[in-house]
């Protein structure tokens, strides 16, 4: 008998009919002989309604009371799902963060989970009861109700799975799983049956929206076997694994992209130790996040430096850079908001060279000029003109065989988790 932690998001419990369908999915797992702990978000729209009440009432709601207000959303869904399970003949019991003994830091908003006492839920499981836990909430050491950060219900599920040593943490969402690329851009994109944790972390950082980056980090910390599935369609979803890279691993697992960044360059800066800090320091002080950074030394005395920022910060960053350029005696600055970033991700890159040259060749053959390049151990990102985004992504998807399903045969033992 395996223990599964199943998490259902806001759209999955967005109506009474959907709650009934979630109950059926939980019962299906029970009938297959598994123990199940369920984590639920608030019904879709409910969190916004509660936030709206608080923010219409006062300009800057007290964090403790804000958390109490918002936390009621998950309490309603947990109780509704529990009563639905009971009504269908399956003993269930709802748990607030406090009742499930999910202890968080002593601040009320964006609190991190510090520890979980697994006893109450273990006890319920032993009695054959299905615990239904409110996501996104905890309790601090003073008994205050706290709420977690973004992706909070995923975090609750992952932390509970770790604490209960669950066999699998299943995140039910409105997509079928993780794809080789966004299916809206690449019609041939294929759903992956497996992806390594490191790849998932890169994909989340690079703009894939399946899981919040913070939840992925937590998964890695506790090595929780995690599966992303659809609440609305049957299927095996995508399992996130932690195995060592085998030689059979495909070079590239997926392609991520975004067009939400802008590029800035400062040209011909007199080079001296610490010049990069002098350029990027004022940008950081203005609370602007810098993503890619590329420095290129022109000659003994001068250097060029380019970087990307979120497109919403582009104008502000350009103003700051203009002032910096004057101060440092740079020759020129340039900016371009019409760029796109395309990234190949795959743990196979560690053991195989040749991915980068092949990527550049594919893009070159399509007449796509590369503006910036940045690499990590399992990722290559390039910046290109925005208009080439779809063309580039589709060409790379085909060239690296992502439509061919090499992934399908990979590591069948991982299927034991399900």
């Amino acid at each position: 008998m395996s223990l599964w932690v199943q998490k259902y998001g806001g759209t999955s419990v967005g109506s009474l009919d959907r709650i009934r369908r979630v109950a059926d999915k939980v019962i299906e797992a029970k009938q297959a002989g598994h123990q199940v702990v369920v984590v639920v978000s608030a019904m879709s729209g409910e969190t916004n309604r509660l936030v709206g009440l608080a923010e219409s009432l006062v300009e800057c709601p007290d964090p403790r009371e804000y958390s109490v207000t918002v936390a009621t959303g998950e309490m309603v869904s947990m109780a509704l799902l529990a009563m639905c399970l009971i009504d269908k003949g399956y003993p269930a019991r709802s748990y607030t963060g406090a009742q499930a003994q999910i202890f968080s830091e002593n601040h009320c908003v964006k609190a991190r989970i510090e520890r979980i006492d697994p006893y109450p839920l273990k006890q319920a499981l032993e009695e054959g009861i299905i615990p239904v836990v409110a996501g996104f909430q905890g309790v601090d050491s003073y008994g205050n109700i706290t709420t977690l950060g973004r992706g909070g219900s995923d975090t609750t599920a992952v932390a509970l799975a770790a604490s209960l040593a669950a066999d699998e943490c299943q995140i039910y969402t409105d997509v079928d799983g993780v794809y080789t690329a966004d299916p809206r851009v690449v019609p041939d994109a294929r759903q992956l049956t497996h992806i390594t944790f490191e790849e998932m972390l890169e994909l989340a950082s690079l703009g894939a929206k399946v899981l919040q980056k913070r939840s992925v980090e937590l998964i890695g910390k506790y090595k929780v076997p995690l599966r992303v599935l659809s609440s609305f369609h049957d299927g095996q979803g995508t399992l996130i694994t932690y195995e060592e890279v085998s030689m059979e691993r495909p070079l590239v697992s997926g392609i991520a992209f975004n067009r939400s960044e802008a590029k800035l360059s400062i040209i011909g800066v007199p080079d001296q130790p610490g010049v990069a800090a002098k350029i990027l320091g004022p940008i950081g002080e203005a609370n602007i996040d810098v993503d890619m950074i590329v420095q290129n030394k022109i000659n003994e005395d001068l250097t060029d430096l380019s970087f990307t920022v979120g497109r919403e910060d582009y104008k502000k960053a350009l103003e700051i850079l203009s002032a910096v350029a004057k101060e440092l005696g740079a020759r020129d600055i340039k900016g371009d908001a019409k760029i796109a970033k395309i990234s190949l991700v795959g743990v196979g890159m560690r053991s195989h060279s040749g991915v980068a040259p092949q990527m550049f060749q594919v893009l070159g053959a399509e007449g796509i000029n590369i503006q910036l390049i940045s690499t990590s151990e399992i990722k290559i990102s390039v910046v290109v003109d925005e208009k080439y985004l779809e063309l580039g992504v589709r060409a790379l998807h085909a060239a690296f065989g992502l439509d061919k399903g090499a992934d399908e045969d990979f590591d069948p033992k991982m299927r034991d988790f399900k």
Copy 2:
């Protein structure tokens, strides 16, 4: 410095604007130098919305999960009021039933409060914090969220006032206080500044809707000085007191009435020990509450018996009585659903005779025939034809001088409570 427990009902916190007004009322009391503990109901309409969700989802919601669902309504209002107070510069903190340590019986719905640990709220008061407590909810010995019975938020306020030895429990509602009679029927009706607990209990039992009977019983148990006030108008409201009856007390404090009952009579029953039980036993077994009971022995062998029941139970009671009459060999049965009950209430009746004869005389002078009479130590109730209700109530109101304000001069020492 006095300690006040203030309770605000659903209409008093029914919108964000009203919550702001409640905050101002609380602050007014703080500024006058009092300590304040606030109890709130759910925003009006919210409890119905939550009940609707549960009852649309499943036919018969599990009581534990039903309570969790409904209890979120009060949690939202307590957090909103607390953040509004904080926003206005007054430290405040919301408390769920569990956080306020309000322990109830171990069943989840209509649970009675068993004990309150006053420490958390006392601690907050000492730190200058205004506690805002969710009404209508508690926690059982297993940590389950429970909800109290009807009038639950009043009960919370009264129980907290008792546990904290508050100087006054103030129930803010949508009426200005307790009146000598319903002002919609008697335009001359006057708001009472004081009423004794026993009178209030009789009035609540007889159909006055200001306070639930159960809350009044609890007030009496703990001798909590309780004031009923309006959230919407300024004023002193009505204070419920516990003093011994003084000779200055007016004979009659108020007039209650209802037209929600029906009368049944069984005529010419062979009299024998236990005949009343034989008649009323089957009525009680059918879960029909009997209110007034009058027996009248006709001669050595025969007796008549009349009683009243809720009008909704009239038909069923008549069927049962018909079967009983046959069994007992009664001569006849009669029934009348078009009756009204008028009651005079006043602790002064204890020391003054003559109220009953005066009442009968007043009604007789108006040509109103009395069908049944029932008396207790501080109350006289009569049943009359429904069509005479308004006429009778107004005549009695004038005859006993209830429009004259005799109450105004009464026992000024009781004003110390405010």
